[in-house]
Symmetry: C2
Subunit: 256 residues, 2 copies
């Protein structure tokens, strides 16, 4: 990409740098390719490392770059579209490796916000932890809150916790026949436990999908799923995923 000189403009350096790097990524780099390290890049553009990092952070937020400590900065592949809306409750997992994988299940009191949605008081609920894997990579971590009253026939013989218990809860919930869903999406930052499952650092940007599942007039369960915001594009609606990512589009109209 050569030694580029930043002309003086009334625009933050890091923002201009972001644009320059973005264009360089389009023209000079292939997906997966490793960029020069931050110290070299900073020197090449004649800025402090902190400024260079600010530009890289932007590009990472936009899903263009992937940075790993001890390894380096690589060009990220286009975001993967993950369906959120339809056929969500193939609870049992569906084809192996392409859906939700139960990890654990415990019984504890739900956080008050979830308890309010479930209309339960301090009564403990089943908390199922699941991981969503796509193309061999963990893209989401979920906590599913199921009140004991929603799954009355849950066998007491099964394991009281762990993946086996998780599958039992899912099976009972499936038998219930869910009637509808209600969903919100917002930006959040990964908690330490989610970050670990998603192979990210704590505080990494995530898309938080909160789903209410309805059955027989009430809220049967609540799910809080955190998706990696850097690698995921959530898809909704009747047809399949859009085949073109927004990033490719942003590249075109870089009004900067």
């Amino acid at each position: 990409m050569g030694t580029t000189q930043l002309e003086s403009v009334q625009e933050p350096k890091y923002w201009h740098l972001r644009t320059v790097l973005s264009e360089a990524l389009d023209s000079d780099f292939a997906v997966g390719e490793i960029l020069p390290n931050e110290r070299d890049l900073a020197a090449r553009f004649g800025v402090a490392r902190a400024t260079l990092r600010q530009a890289l952070e932007q590009l990472e937020l936009e899903g263009r770059l992937q940075r790993r400590r001890g390894v380096g900065t690589t060009v990220a592949p286009p975001r993967v579209g993950v369906a959120v809306s339809t056929a969500q409750h193939e609870w049992t997992g569906g084809v192996s490796g392409e859906a939700w994988q139960p990890v654990d299940c415990v019984s504890e009191v739900a956080p008050t916000a979830v308890a309010a949605m479930l209309r339960t008081g301090g009564e403990p609920v089943h908390v199922v932890r699941r991981i969503r894997v796509t193309h061999g990579q963990a893209v989401a971590a979920e906590l599913l809150y199921v009140p004991a009253s929603s799954v009355p026939d849950l066998s007491a013989i099964d394991a009281p916790s762990g993946p086996v218990r998780a599958r039992s809860v899912m099976r009972e919930l499936h038998r219930l026949g869910l009637e509808g869903q209600d969903r919100t999406v917002e930006l959040g930052s990964a908690r330490a436990d989610d970050a670990k499952e998603l192979d990210r650092l704590p505080g990494a940007p995530v898309l938080v999908v909160t789903t209410r599942y309805f059955a027989s007039g009430g809220t049967a369960a609540v799910s809080v799923a955190t998706y990696r915001a850097d690698t995921c594009r959530l898809t909704f609606g009747d047809s399949g995923a859009l085949e073109i990512s927004h990033d490719e589009q942003q590249q075109e109209r870089q009004a900067s």
Copy 2:
């Protein structure tokens, strides 16, 4: 909140600071209240200003804080739920002040990614710019791409551009009778023009909602809407918005 001493732990200072501040926000501050300035806060916690700012950035990303240059840092109100899925095409605006407001309309070639979705080549399309206002605040900026072939009856007498033209295009599109939609959500950063409309700085985190509108078997229009990620919670589904934000929940289980 008092002068707090950061005990030495194997956890980044800014992350610990984020937790401490988050708890202080819950207990000691009301919505809209102004925090001490960054230099004071940094001194109070015995860290460099850059470190303090890293913590504030996290909290702003989570929608807990709002920072404005020249003014100060205030406690943000809970995120506002904005419906994305249903009754989206009350194209004409609906109740004044509570929906989309046409701003402008021009005719130009769509960016290639959009063109690919529309199955148009280099042929120019109508580009309608709209702003979504909720509670008196701009929460989203949209570009709606409508191929000329989708609105053949568009009067050539109307203004060739501007808000009047925008309304004409919307009206014609509405007459078409849209059959379905297809939607994706992903994280992005605000371009300069969008940032200005949303009263944010360039690069601010936004939720990018890309919608395909179908009519008579083809894609009649494509919309790219950027929502303020700090203040918005996108809602989908049959029923109304969830009345409880995820943030309140995160506050509970601060595994940190």
